[in-house]
Symmetry: C2
Subunit: 220 residues, 2 copies
């Protein structure tokens, strides 16, 4: 296909459109943003914008697809013979690191997730939800493997544990600000340490849980 | 003030409006919902609806205020001399229990949080954000108290730990379905167990973290 109207290659122009769109969706929500807003932000006429993306839904779809693909690619890059502890560490730390580097796209992804079936076509929803399930599966698999190896607490339901890990990393998008007192790297390290210890099997002789229960009963 | 038009007391009618509004905001988002949609859902004429709430923003504000007040009230009801472990357990379990009982209002609260300053007046935003900070403070205080008592890991930043707890309970709103395999109570119990163990101080003689690191290095 020949180059479209305007400056720059088709690929660069599409990336630029996605960048502006993510910022607008982040600031005012997908529903409140129009293709007119997007064209104005890009200083493009609307016809040129439609040459690159035939609908606002397709713009959102590509933002969500890129984000979910990139997060998945980080999980797939993990070595298959990695220990379950390292798999959990990587799940938490790599995801937080990715989200810190792509805060706008990450925020759009989380804020629009409840409305996917309203904004996108059935096929598009199916593609995104498959990526979300695959991502979750990495956490579930790490927990299950750690339980099989008697490293993680067998009493924990793997899906509940995986959702706890996902909750910790997802919430980071909401509260983290780039000028926070702690770096994203330090937050990632602390979060993975907390999550990992939360999963570890209780040793038979470890009296801490019981001691604390007795102490608190004594206080009450 | 005299009773307004229509059946039922003013108080019941307002509760009914909030209930319908929360369902509409949940299904299609605040921005996409009009006062016409709300009047139609309630089978009220628009004039009657405006008698009860003078704007859509005021409807959203009251939903968010009720939800945040109720969550805070559960935290305030905790005994002041409760152990820090019990405070963390209650924070996680009471919040999940509340969210499971009010899934629609909880979902609206989380989905609209990024857009508060667009939808509400400055004063309204201030009121809601104060409630959110007070809620977060309960988690931070529990962590800090546990660290002062040498029960929780002193290396954890209290705010990062508090946000991890908040992330676990907030994410529950996104993934929990009432027909899930596990009850909300069981999910709450498992989540608090994972979170609490994640906070506990590492015993000097506890070799588990080191062992797992060495084992994984050997595998690589």
């Amino acid at each position: 296909m020949a180059e479209g109207p305007g400056r720059g290659s088709r690929k660069n122009r599409r990336a630029e459109i996605l960048d502006h769109a993510a910022k607008l969706f982040h600031a005012q929500g997908y529903h409140a943003t129009t293709m007119d807003d997007l064209a104005e932000s890009l200083k493009l006429n609307k016809g040129t914008l439609y040459y690159y993306y035939e609908s606002k839904a397709n713009v959102l779809f590509e933002i969500l697809l890129n984000t979910s693909e990139q997060r998945l690619a980080m999980m797939r890059a993990q070595s298959a013979d990695m220990s379950s502890e390292d798999a959990v560490r990587h799940f938490v730390e790599d995801t937080i690191s990715y989200l810190a580097q792509h805060p706008v796209e990450a925020a759009v992804s989380f804020q629009e997730a409840p409305f996917l079936s309203q904004w996108l076509s059935k096929d598009q929803v199916r593609v995104i939800q498959k990526r979300h399930r695959d991502f979750e599966k990495h956490a579930v698999d790490a927990v299950t493997k750690g339980q099989a190896g008697h490293v993680f607490d067998p009493d924990l339901d793997p899906r509940v544990a995986a959702q706890a890990l996902t909750g910790i990393v997802s919430w980071f998008v909401r509260w983290y600000r780039p000028n926070s007192r702690l770096s994203a790297k330090e937050i990632a390290r602390q979060s993975s340490s907390l999550a990992l210890r939360g999963l570890l099997v209780r040793e038979a002789a470890d009296p801490r849980m019981q001691v604390s229960r007795i102490a608190s009963a004594g206080h009450a």
